[in-house]
Symmetry: C2
DNA sequence: CTCCTGACCGAACAGTGTTAGGTTATCTAA
DNA sequence: TTAGATAACCTAACACTGTTCGGTCAGGAG
């Protein structure tokens, strides 16, 4: 090796994620990323083929942390719940990249592997293949919906306007701390209602 | 009036939405939009303050069609279901703009008005204010999650790869027609399970 | 010491959103 | 009828974007 490399694929990924977390998805440019690493923009292309590719790599890194081990015990309700929680947490840690993540989850290797596990567990628990597919899809709806349309990233404008014009709306969720809690609780409510409802339907159809 | 205007805010919105539907969100540029209207890019700025603003206007136009009249009867389960269906349909008609829509639904006038109606109806049906907020949020999770991570926009790569590597996954949802049906059915499943689960929880806590 | 190779850089290309200033057709006022 | 006002559109440019080509230069191998 001619020289000690400053850059590496993983260092680039880390810096990219840092910028995305700090400045948003649109706040990431190759020049800014290069500057963050003390380098010129062109140098990045020795380690990364394309910006889009870089984003996919960052995305995969994030999604690696999703845990589907909850299905191991054979209890699909528990598995579904644990998987959804873990998924949401992974996304909530980097909310700015979620719109990109959602673009094509099915195209990513890790997502497919996970989906395969979930699907298999559901079929093993007695759901039909079609039902298993739809349940897995529904879980994605909840997870991505929760990560995307969270209170934390909404409701940040002038507070006084809300209350008088929309009397039914509570203005408490304007506070960031409250918003984060409300996000988590709303997700838990939705997840719990969903799994409960599924279980009820399961009993009904297996009669 | 000095001349018969070629441009108008609504004509610009319509053309923008057409391009978005056809070429995707990234496929919309001010120059392309201008060309579509037989005009130069700069001319657009006499009718539209900013590209971001234009997108928000297009978004509002789409969201205007969401129908919350299902709550009128006083049946919150029916209201929730109808509202969610109408919402999803509105989004499914223009899937490419959904990532933008999801960015800050809470900032849009029409969304807040709707949210206020839903919230009021839920409180009227006996839910606490906090519960109502969380239920409304959950509904958004489902709707946006369904519109975003739909099968139609995923799974479009080489079909043969899937089956051997992920034995649990069905390859039927690769076909566009099947995918659309699967999207709708999955959403209905999720929605039904969610509302059922909510109702069950309601009975339990009101004891 | 020379050669080679790999890492980084400078400069450019085509494209983006946006703006300042200029042109022109029509409508109003004298 | 003609002069001026004005709205609608355009030309040209700005600073930015992702990406590529050709160069520079440090170190290891012979």
């Amino acid at each position: 090796m001619p020289r000690n490399p400053i850059l590496s694929a993983s260092r680039i990924r880390a810096a990219a994620l840092l910028i995305i977390d700090r400045d948003g998805l649109d706040g990431l440019s190759m020049r800014k990323l290069a500057a963050e690493l003390g380098v010129q923009a062109a140098s990045l292309y020795g380690h990364v083929s394309t910006k889009d590719d870089l984003l996919h790599e960052v995305a995969s890194e994030i999604l690696e942390k999703v845990d589907v081990s909850g299905f191991a015990g054979g209890d699909w309700q528990h598995g579904l719940t644990m998987c959804a929680r873990s998924y949401r947490e992974a996304l909530a840690r980097h909310p700015n990249i979620v719109p990109f993540l959602a673009y094509g989850p099915a195209h990513r290797e890790a997502s497919l592997r996970r989906l395969d596990v979930v699907h298999g567990a559901l079929v093993g628990a007695g759901w039909t293949r079609r039902e298993a597919t739809m349940i897995a899809a529904s879980l994605m709806y909840l997870v991505f919906g929760a990560a995307l349309s969270s209170f934390s990233s909404g409701f940040s404008e002038d507070q006084s306007l809300y209350h008088e014009r929309y009397p039914n709306l509570d203005k408490a969720h304007l506070l960031p701390a409250v918003a984060a809690e409300l996000d988590r609780d709303s997700f838990e409510l939705a997840l719990n209602a969903f799994v409960t409802g599924l279980a009820a339907q399961r009993v009904a159809t297996s009669d």
